[in-house]
């Protein structure tokens, strides 16, 4: 059974149809990439899965159950964590606090026991901290543990956001352009991390990415989108050689494109 399944999902904002009849399934354990030119509807698909917007038609199923009845804050509880294209961290908090907020779905204590700081709260805090430290070790964030996000460079923020998503301990990880704005070295790091996330942690990855090098090196299957329509699903090589994809990216020969 596939982990995440989109069936004929359509959404339009006013007159603009951002996604039209998107259907695909992400299998457990694979790295699935969405590619396409700007405005193709990749991020909109992420926002649909995160339940920030409602599709006007179709169904989205996670582990066989429809998630259309879920509120956005229920999604991480199901086991779906995400990052954002333009970093959305808690800027006035430290890296460690950001990772600990990622543990929110694992919170068992209630407000009253927390105000009184009962022993159970402390024991739970230690467990959260241990989980956060594992993420810090995995992503080599030790030097930044106590730094405020405000003062961190872009590349580190990008990694912290990945860390916060990992702290959720999800089954499915949505990465919205994990390599955008990163240097070649940092992109290599991201590629290694994605490999480890899949192989060591056993987390399925669905990602949007423009860097075809990264897509080629880590993804099992690729879905190409253009103007809200799905063009082709296949291995990275199949998709890159598909005439429809080439046309969507570069255009037909006679209008002078094709650099």
């Amino acid at each position: 059974m596939s982990l995440l399944e989109l069936e004929n999902v359509t959404i339009s904002f006013g007159g603009l149809t951002a996604v039209e009849g998107a259907s695909f399934a992400v299998n457990p354990g694979e790295v699935f990439a969405l590619v396409g030119p700007n405005g193709a509807g990749k991020s909109t698909i992420f926002n649909l899965v995160s339940r920030y917007c409602n599709p006007s038609g179709g169904d989205i199923r996670f582990e066989g159950k429809s998630i259309l009845g879920c509120a956005p804050h229920d999604i991480p509880r199901l086991g779906i964590a995400r990052t954002f294209q333009n970093i959305e961290l808690f800027e006035h908090a430290t890296v460690l606090q950001n990772l600990l907020i990622g543990r929110h779905t694992h919170r068992r204590s209630n407000a009253i026991s927390e105000i009184l700081h009962l022993p159970g709260v402390r024991a739970e805090e230690r467990r959260h901290r241990l989980a956060a430290e594992k993420v810090i070790d995995f992503l080599d964030l030790q030097p930044y543990r106590e730094s405020l996000i405000l003062g961190l460079p872009y590349g580190v923020r990008k990694v912290v956001e990945l860390g916060r998503a990992l702290a959720v301990e999800p089954k499915l990880l949505l990465l919205d352009e994990p390599a955008s704005g990163l240097s070649a070295d940092e992109t290599d790091d991201v590629a290694f991390w994605i490999e480890d996330i899949r192989k060591v942690m056993g987390i399925t990855v669905l990602m949007v990415e423009h860097d075809m090098g990264l897509v080629n090196s880590v993804s099992d299957r690729v879905l190409a989108l253009a103007d809200g329509k799905t063009l082709v699903i296949g291995t990275p090589q199949e998709v890159q050689t598909d005439p429809a994809v080439i046309e969507a990216y570069i255009g037909l020969g006679d209008d002078g494109a094709g650099e």
Binding site: N47, S50, Y52, C53, A71, P72, H73, D74, I75, P76, R77, A81, R82, F84, Q85, N86, I87, E88, L89, F90, E91, H92, A93, Q97, L100, I101, G102, R103, H104, T105, R107, S109, A111, E114, I115, L116, H117, V121, R122, E125, R126, H128, R129, L130, E133, L150, G151, Y154, R157, R164, V168
Partner: protein, 366 residues
Amino acid sequence: MRTVFKTSYDADLGLFVHRYQAFWYFLLLAVAIGLPFVMNDFWIGEVALMLIWAIAGMGLMLLVGHAGQPSLGHAAFMAVGAYTNVILQTSLGWPFLVSFPLSGCAAALAGALLALPTARLHGIYLAIATLAVSILAEDGIVMLAPWTGGVSGIFAPDITIFGVGFNRYVNAPGFYWLTLGVAVLVVLGYRNILRSPLGRSLVAVRDSEISAQATGVNLARTKAVSFALSCGVTGLAGALMGHFAGVFNHETFTIFLSITLLMMIVIGGLGSIHGAFLGAIVITFLPLAISIVREFLNERFGTASVMPPGIETAAFGAILIAFILLEPMGIYGRWVKIRTYFELFPFCRRDMFRRQRGYLRTERIR
């Protein structure tokens, strides 16, 4: 600069970073407990008032400084606390030990009820909605005259706990110690919130609602909880304020009280417990300082025209503007800068605290 060598995760969970910090805070507490032995009743009364302001300020700080929800309606919740406390004591004859916590609960309930319809509002819109609550409360007090005494006001009975009277005038040190006890408990609760998942979820809602949701924070519930806690604590301060004032009516809890509270935490420094206390010190002692200076000038020059009436309001306004322009982090922010300068001496850089423009953030989806 003191480097703390942490050997367990518990080191980050404690109330104090290291023993020296604990020492200073306990020394401060000891001095606070000992104050009545060195001050006369007038000054003890003023310090008690300062503590009441600080309690109210902590309530508002939780909401504005940590949950990022501005409120111009906290005078209304002080009123709920003050009136509930007195009505429970006079009409039902319940003792202070019962009516006081219940007044906090009543204010918390009122806050949670307000949070239900306003959960979707942000920033200036929320400020306007709460402003309306503040104005409504004033009229509500007048309309509920059978219970609240309306325009003529209501007398707060003397506090008696186990036969010991805590009247502000008869037993000023007692009233002060009572206030101090409440303030210390509120500080402890506040600290516990900040080091627990609840405190982190408040910060999450403040800094990025969209990503708070992506980590599983229920926005509506978190806002309701923050409103309830904030209003509850402010209600407790209102109950104490009622006893401090002795008699109060609708004019005690005007919109100006709400603005004063907000001003207090901005001057003190948003987002820190210290800020509530520092702001309370300014709010309490600035009018006193002005009147002392005025008396001195009048004696010296024999005229009342040197300092016109209403100068307190002007001074408050000027100070607020100065803080927003020159030190948006408030008194506590300034203190942190000074402390860091000396800790890192001579390596402190000027740009260390420069506010940076955040990177572009995801277009909000609402």
